[in-house]
């Protein structure tokens, strides 16, 4: 068994909404996996099924080989969930919360050292005896992460952990999740920030309207977008462009020109040669590769059928 998560023909219907429409995928052990999609795509429902918060209408889901319905205790012990909302229990201190959460998972005194280590690592030691109500949003977010890790789950699911978080904390959370991954945890990250998925995830699934639109490596997804940008600074600034170049222009501000090139049909060399032949001098140039954002928007807007099956192969 090498899979941390397996989801097969998973459906979830609410009264009026078909939130998941037969989703299939697997996450390998030790993988850093991204789950992307617009609002209402079904990401939180999918995570909810893995964590036991949502009951699937059909299909099956397993965490570390444990079916989430039939072997629910083992499945829940294998998963640590960092929820999207900043939820907390206002009656308790940080240390008490971690102690209680550890107990819910069946751990006793033997876990005390681990709780203290989590407090240190997540920079919560100074606030360990503070009530949750007294903490800032960023601190509460760290407590949620500590709670998810308190039973040492091999699989950690972070549901939009950096939503509404300042830049400094976002960087700190990125460092921490990278560390968890480096230490052997399987990480599943849902995010609205494509930059975040691009920076962290090895493979990415894109969900939309309850269906898997794509599942591929980061490089594989990026390769689906055939465009790249060529940015030029021309001399003279008002130079007339030959037709072969003019048709590629997407933006022009005096001598600064931005061109969109098709990977297969438009060559940078040919563009430069046309300009030289027209007597236009290139003072500077650079290229910009597409980001996940372009791929994401293209997939979501085109409404293409799921290509998950081929991507998984």
């Amino acid at each position: 068994m090498t899979e941390a998560i397996r989801v097969e023909r998973l459906h979830k219907r609410y009264a009026a909404v078909h939130a998941l429409r037969g989703v299939d995928f697997a996450v390998a052990r030790g993988e850093f996996f991204g789950l992307l999609g617009p609002n209402g795509a079904g990401k939180t429902t999918l995570i909810g099924i893995l964590a036991g918060l949502v009951r699937p209408t059909a299909g099956r889901a397993a965490v570390m080989g444990h079916d989430v319905r039939r072997q629910w205790r083992a499945a829940r012990r294998s998963l640590g969930l960092v929820p999207q909302e900043l939820v907390y229990d206002p009656f308790f201190t940080v240390r008490e919360i971690l102690w209680l959460q550890s107990g819910y998972f069946g751990h006793g005194r033997e876990n005390r050292a681990w709780i203290e280590e989590l407090l240190e690592v997540l920079d919560l030691a100074d606030k360990a005896d503070a009530n949750l109500q007294e903490l800032s949003g960023g601190m509460k977010r760290r407590v949620l992460i500590a709670q998810a890790l308190v039973h040492r789950p091999p699989v950690v699911v972070l549901d939009e952990p950096t939503a509404g978080v300042d830049v400094e904390l976002r960087q700190a959370l990125w460092r921490f999740t990278r560390r968890l991954h480096a230490e052997g945890h399987t990480i599943v990250l849902t995010t609205h920030y494509l930059e975040e998925a691009e920076a962290l995830c090895e493979r990415i699934a894109i969900l939309d309207h309850g269906s898997l639109r794509a599942l591929d490596t980061k490089a594989g997804l990026l390769a689906r977008h055939p465009w790249r940008c060529l940015c030029l600074e021309l001399e003279p600034p008002d130079a007339a462009l030959p037709e072969a170049v003019a048709r590629l222009v997407t933006e022009r501000d005096g001598g600064r020109v931005r061109l969109r090139l098709h990977r297969l049909h438009d060559q940078i060399g040919a563009v430069l040669e046309s300009l030289r032949a027209a007597g236009v001098r290139v003072r500077d140039l650079h290229t910009e590769e597409p980001g996940l954002e372009e791929v994401f928007l293209e997939l979501i807007h085109e409404g293409a059928p799921a290509q998950a099956a081929e991507a998984q192969a």
């Binding site: 609410y14 429902t45 909810g48 964590a51 036991g52 918060l53 949502v54 009951r55 570390m64 444990h66 072997q71 629910w72 205790r73 083992a74 829940r76 012990r77 294998s78 998963l79 969930l81 929820p83 909302e85 939820v87 907390y88 229990d89 206002p90 009656f91 308790f92 008490e96 209680l100 959460q101 550890s102 107990g103 819910y104 998972f105 069946g106 751990h107 006793g108 681990w114 280590e117 989590l118 690592v121 709670q147 890790l149 040492r152 789950p153 091999p154 560390r179 968890l180 230490e183 052997g184 945890h185 399987t186």
Partner: protein, 266 residues
């Protein structure tokens, strides 16, 4: 802090530590607001004692040889005990649902039975503490016999458990504080007030005297009072049977709701 493989043999076994921790959390929760959860109900019960006991003591003798104060105090203890057992589990659950922190228990390997036992046991503890508080303070004012400590304890625990389980049912069912308040004010409060706390149901006019025999709270309070006074409206065996049956019915409903994940798992 590396990912650790799952220990073998921890798959399906009961999570007793989880059960105990959830119970501990529920007890700690009400101990953190002890003025609200313990002292206030004791003070309220004493107000009833002062007002009703003081005014009526000279005029009423409910059972031969039993003064009104001695009649009233066991009823007050039982009423305070069951109302607080209900309040403990219901308010904790509705708060956890409204603030969203119930998720921390729902993601844990805690079974419906373990969840039920933890909440009901904590409700029983709060009920017993409040009941003991009312009793101790009432002893300053009333000379109260203790006919059968075992019967008192059995009825106290069973009654608190019934209302603790009913509190879980109401806490799961209610989606807003307003709905829970309605359940408390239109179900729990009338049934407990109309259960013979302040009077013997034999003194009620028809049809209220007969209708009182349909109120399960009457048997809880009547049996509890029998433990103190040795006399009661209903035979203590009948009261015990009705209270135990009430516990079985409410617990079955509660466990069925938890097992289905009714209103707590989507």
């Amino acid at each position: 802090m590396s990912a650790r493989p799952e220990p073998a043999g921890r798959g399906a076994a009961a999570n007793l530590r989880g059960l105990y921790t959830l119970f501990e959390k529920e007890v700690l929760r009400f101990l953190k607001v002890v003025v609200q959860t313990l002292l206030t109900p004791v003070a309220t019960a004493l107000l009833y004692l002062v007002i009703f006991g003081g005014v009526l003591a000279a005029h009423l003798e409910v059972y031969p040889g039993v003064g009104y104060g001695a009649f009233l105090v066991p009823g007050l203890i039982a009423m305070t005990l069951i109302q607080n057992a209900f309040a403990n589990s219901s308010s904790s659950l509705i708060q956890s649902k409204m603030t969203g922190n119930l998720i921390f228990v729902l993601v844990a390997p805690v079974s419906p039975l373990e969840f039920y036992l933890a909440f009901v046991a904590a409700a029983v503890v709060r009920g017993l503490l409040v009941g003991a508080g009312v009793w101790l303070v009432a002893l300053l004012f009333v000379d109260l016999p203790l006919h059968s400590p075992a019967l008192v304890l059995v009825f106290a625990v069973l009654s608190a458990a019934v209302l603790g389980a009913l509190g879980v049912v109401a806490g799961i069912w209610a989606e807003k504080f307003e709905q829970l308040a309605a359940f408390q004010n239109f179900v729990v409060l009338p049934l407990s007030f109309l259960s013979g706390v302040f009077y013997s149901i034999g003194s009620l006019p028809a049809p209220w005297d007969r209708l009182s025999w349909l109120n399960p709270f009457f048997y809880m309070i009547d049996g509890f009072r029998h433990g103190f006074l040795g006399v009661s409206d209903a035979p203590p065996g009948l009261s015990l049977a009705v209270t135990a049956a009430s516990l079985a019915v409410v617990s079955a409903v509660c466990l069925a709701m938890l097992a289905r994940g009714y209103k707590i798992r989507q």
